[in-house]
């Protein structure tokens, strides 16, 4: 078994080293490999990240705060006093071995279930008491750490994208794309439906496809909260989770989409880290983790999301809508290009919503061309990401490649969110590429005069599309251009360096019912 330990004490000249020696001896006697980091007066040499990554369990024998504790996040951890490290090292080693074995058992138990189809083996390998792990290494540059934070959020979000998106797509397949409108209310191909407010009535009123759609939408609602929550978790460990998730929920509530959630997650992580640094009186220390830290971080982050971010977004949305309405008379191809770019900009965020709502309003007033352009453009980002990750896998992390496999179906179903895992992990390269592809598709769809009498449904409503052949051509053109742009931008950076440990390659694809191999 591979173990790592940190020892530290107030003076840093005696106990730190005694504990280190005792723990090393005990581990050796029990036949384990161990690396001990002594955080004492003689200076600390950090344990290399790859050693930490390979460790089965962590021992903290420390009477003062362990420096760089986040490096060990997600590992089964034994926390004790430095004295116990000296006097009870042998026991400590067997406790650590037990914790590692328990985590491994927990891990294989999880693996035997089909639920974790999309879970990353790298995450599972780090399964701890909390069952959660991050991809964050110490000592990485700011840019690399930012990417690791985002990737942690993305890897936890992908199962939600896969489960929710695929359920929605299947509900369209089985029930026709009108199920969405029948459940949520609105107008579909001339029929107007009232929204169903009581989900238990969906089965009798819409049928089983409606139930699938509702379940899928519910999973989808968690996408941004999970992204934000686990970005904050990657930054600040467990205390970051609550403010991060709340920031994500509020990002959804104020309509600022995944980009808002991404910022909210980073904000929540930063605020939590700041509060963790505050020294508090001993009397308060006990209630810090359960009461004070969640309370303060959540409140601060929430206020920022609603007041500082939410309000300007809302007013920007209404002025954007006014501006679009003012453009109605202009060249239809230009309008298609513009709407296409907007659809891809934030994939379900405020700008996308403005464009989509504009399409709905046009449909209501009888202009089916704008609806067609909006839908076609919205299909492009997941398709382009799926295509790019399939033809140039080396430019993508294995997490992204798995997201790519699910993205095909999501793109075909006009579920633009399928591209969010890509966009959240690498926004500066993905978003401009997708905007280019979607703009081409939007413009072409208008130029071809394609029409759509359906507000959603993607390829499944092809029967309601006017000029379907050229419509598909417009989508393919945008997909190729978006994928080419993305590959070009990613090539400039070079091959992706996998930060995750080796187990990655063995992970299962994001396909429902696909069991992770044990």
């Amino acid at each position: 078994m591979k173990l790592v330990a940190v020892t530290s004490c107030p003076t840093g000249i005696a106990h730190t080293y005694m504990a280190a020696e005792a723990i090393e001896q005990a581990a050796k006697a029990a036949g384990h490999d161990i690396a001990v980091e002594t955080q004492g007066a003689a200076g600390a040499t950090p344990i290399p990240p790859e050693v930490i990554a390979a460790a089965d369990a962590v021992i903290f024998a420390a009477d003062v705060e362990v420096r760089g504790r986040e490096r060990f996040a997600g590992k089964p951890t034994i926390q004790t006093s430095v004295k116990r490290g000296i006097n009870g090292a042998a026991e400590l080693i067997s406790e650590a071995a037990e914790a590692a074995a328990a985590a491994a058992a927990n891990h294989s138990e999880l693996e035997s279930g089909a639920i974790l189809a999309a879970a990353d083996r790298a995450d599972l390998a780090g399964t701890s008491a909390s069952g959660l792990s991050t991809k964050v290494e110490s000592g990485a540059s700011v840019g690399a750490r930012l990417r690791q934070w985002l990737m942690t959020g993305v890897s936890y979000m992908i199962p939600f994208v896969a489960a929710g998106g695929i359920l929605i797509a299947l509900s369209f397949l089985f029930g026709g794309a009108s199920v969405a409108t029948k459940v949520n209310g609105g107008t579909f191909n001339g029929h107007t439906y009232a929204a169903i407010t009581d989900p238990t009535k969906i089965l009798s009123q819409v049928g089983f496809a409606g139930v699938m759609f509702y379940i899928g939408s519910t999973a989808f609602k968690m996408l941004v909260p999970i992204l934000a929550g686990f970005i904050a978790f990657a930054m600040a460990d467990r205390p970051g989770l609550v403010p991060g998730i709340v920031a994500g929920l509020l990002a959804v509530a104020v309509g600022c989409g995944f980009l808002g959630g991404l910022l909210g997650g980073l904000l929540a992580g930063a605020v939590t880290l700041a509060i963790l640094r505050v020294k508090v009186p001993r009397a308060l220390a006990g209630v810090m983790p359960v009461v004070i830290i969640p309370l303060v971080t959540t409140f601060v982050v929430g206020v920022v999301m609603i007041v500082v971010i939410g309000k300007p977004i809302a007013s920007a949305q209404s002025s954007l809508t006014d501006w679009l309405n003012g453009l109605s008379g202009t060249n239809s191809v230009v309008l298609g290009i513009l709407l296409g770019a907007m659809m891809a900009f934030d994939m379900g965020g405020p700008v996308n919503k403005v464009a989509y709502t504009f399409g709905l309003a046009s449909l209501a007033s009888g202009n089916t061309k704008i609806m067609a352009a909006v839908m076609a453009a919205g299909m492009v980002p997941p398709l382009a990401c799926a295509f790019a990750s399939a033809v140039r896998p080396r430019l993508f992390t294995s997490t992204e490649r798995k997201a790519g496999e699910a993205a095909w179906l999501l793109g075909l179903s006009f579920i633009t969110e399928g591209a969010i895992p890509f966009a959240a992990a690498d926004p500066l390269r993905v978003i401009p590429s997708m905007m280019a592809g979607s703009a081409v598709t939007g413009g072409l769809s208008m130029a071809f005069g394609a029409t759509s009498r359906a507000p959603h449904g993607g390829i499944w409503v092809v029967g309601l599309i006017g000029n379907p052949g050229l419509y598909v051509l417009a989508i393919l053109a945008g997909m190729l251009i978006g994928a080419t742009a993305l590959i070009a931008l990613k090539s400039l950076r070079g091959d992706v360096v996998e930060t995750e440990p080796q187990a990655q390659a063995a992970s299962a694809a994001v396909v429902p019912g696909n069991v992770v191999p044990a």
């Binding site: 107030p10 003076t11 840093g12 000249i13 005696a14 106990h15 730190t16 080293y17 005694m18 280190a20 020696e21 005792a22 001896q25 002594t38 004492g40 007066a41 003689a42 200076g43 009477d63 004295k83 000296i86 006097n87």
Partner: protein
């Protein structure tokens, strides 16, 4: 750098009734050797550390210690007592007492010798040798050799 300890810093028949007296007797040796400039100041620093948490450890050892501005170089004064002095360990009084003095401003390099000493203290063979050693010079020799400081 001179050695961590010398025969003058070792008392194999430490006669002290309690922790404070034992520490004071050993600290006086450090002061006499010129390694501690202000005896009472240093003792206050040691007492402050001891107050945080007793330094007695299982197996009959006590390691009063401090980083102090009154210390000129990393030093060890070692005392042995058959009667034992309580250092707060759960399994009884300490028979081997290591007073470790570290300069407060010392850099990391300065501290490695103390780190090496602390690591040796954990080994039963080291403690047994110190329990059996018959004179101060041999004890100082052995400590210096084991810790590797010269």
């Amino acid at each position: 750098m001179s050695t961590l300890t010398t025969p003058e810093l070792i008392d194999l028949n430490l006669d002290a009734g309690d922790r404070a007296a034992a520490t004071r007797l050993l600290a006086q040796r450090l002061a006499a050797a010129g390694r501690v400039s202000d005896l009472d100041g240093f003792l206050a620093d040691v007492a402050a550390r001891e107050a945080q948490m007793p330094t007695g450890l299982e197996g009959g050892i006590g390691i009063p210690h401090a980083r102090s501005s009154h210390v000129s170089e990393p030093s060890l004064a070692f005392g042995r007592t058959d009667a034992g002095v309580d250092f707060g360990a759960e399994d009884g009084p300490a028979h081997l007492i290591f007073l470790i003095a570290a300069p407060s401003g010392g850099g990391a390099d300065h501290m490695t010798i103390l780190a090496a000493l602390a690591r040796r203290l954990v080994h039963a063979s080291f403690r047994e040798a110190l329990t059996e050693v018959t004179d101060a010079a041999a004890a100082a020799d052995m400590i210096t050799r084991e810790v590797g400081g010269a």
